[in-house]
Amino acid sequence: MLVAILSLGAIGAVFGIILGFAGKKFAVAVDPRVEALLQIMPGANCGACGLPGCAAFAEAIVAGSVKPSDCAPGGATLYEQIAAIMGTEVSAYEERKVAQLLCQGGYGRTRMLYRYEGIKDCRAALANFKGPKACDFGCVMQGSCFKVCPFGAIEMGADGLPVIDYYRCTACNKCVVECPQQILKLIGVSHLVTVRCLNTEKGKDAKANCSVACIKCKICEKNCPEDAVHVVAAGEGSVAVIDVEKCTNCGICAAKCPTKSIDMISPLSEEVVLEIGTTPDAGCQACGVCKTE
């Protein structure tokens, strides 16, 4: 009995001393805050912050080079947690945004120039005469956005256009960056009225190619009680644009638009909107896949 206690104690002591000594002697400083931050990050490594993954973001937070709110999928809860670790105040209120598609020209609505055969990639399709659609501003319908979405929030609809599940969208920005036509945009969920066309061609040309194009008729402009929508110069032509500051979501322009290129939707139901700024349930499911590697 005594032997056991003594020898085990001795072994323990010897190794304890060695380790204690080594720990002192060879110490390398690591900021514990980085570790702590990494624990609470969504771990999607989506890159929406512009940094290569959550670990880099945590380091950047400690270094002070990014704001907590730069992490779009995180949401308010995360910002609070970060603030708690870093000992700072929670940054300003940010509205939840979702990615929306600014094109309605699916099959049957937009004239096609040819039948595209080849890989499902928008840029590859664009290499041939700016895509199979006669309109050069719209969705190419090859699903590059669908492929990059890390949250499974995008699916390709029957009309060839991507359909975004706004509840799943975390505004990580990946599809927005990926889209070669730049027709995906992060829009705050409280903005209900949107011009869903970026075609800057003359009204006649636009109409010839697509039944849901902005034809620069200015009806929206004339009918807007708040002076919030204007056909403004863009590219080599012009297109209708809504000033979100002035827009009151009355929906008159959407109702009057002859081609229905302006539409009004509420991307999220009311109770979800009430919790604006929270991480959507369907986003990071903390499956840990991203952390294992």
Partner: protein
Amino acid sequence: MQEYVIIIISAVLVNNIVLSQFLGICPFLGVSKKLSASLGMSGAVSFVLIIASFITWVLQTYLLTPLNITYLQTIAFILVIASLVQFVEIVIKKFSPPMYKALGIFLPLITTNCAVLGVAIINIQNEYSLGKVMVHSLSHAAGFTIALLLMSGIRERLEDADIPESMRGTPIALIVAALMSISFLGFSGLT
């Protein structure tokens, strides 16, 4: 000499530590997604395995057996291994940052790697001499390395495979291990 050859062949091929003894399954499944990572892991495991085998043998032969306290084997061995891992980690971190970068994240995982403790215990059970202990642990390290490298090679290829959703990740890795294990059955009876 013959004995040593048999130990080597048996440890590396016939009774491969992972594929037929089921030791070190966690890193085998967990760290085999990328070849580079598995190189690091097998390096770290081999390193600790060999040193730990040596120290535990010395401990057993000169302390536990003479004092007649062999029932403390498990505690003593795990203490040795845990301290060793931590010690190695501290030392590498200090003296070879690149090596720490490569091996560092794997080192803490090794404490709870049954391969190390398992081999140490098998060494004692088989009543090997020091020479055989070293050969034995070296061959098991080699067996582990080979299994891990082959596994990661396969899994890198599987990255592009269209595996059914529910089989992705660990399930398919286990199936690969199963089929590897079936292939290694070919070595059974090898003398």
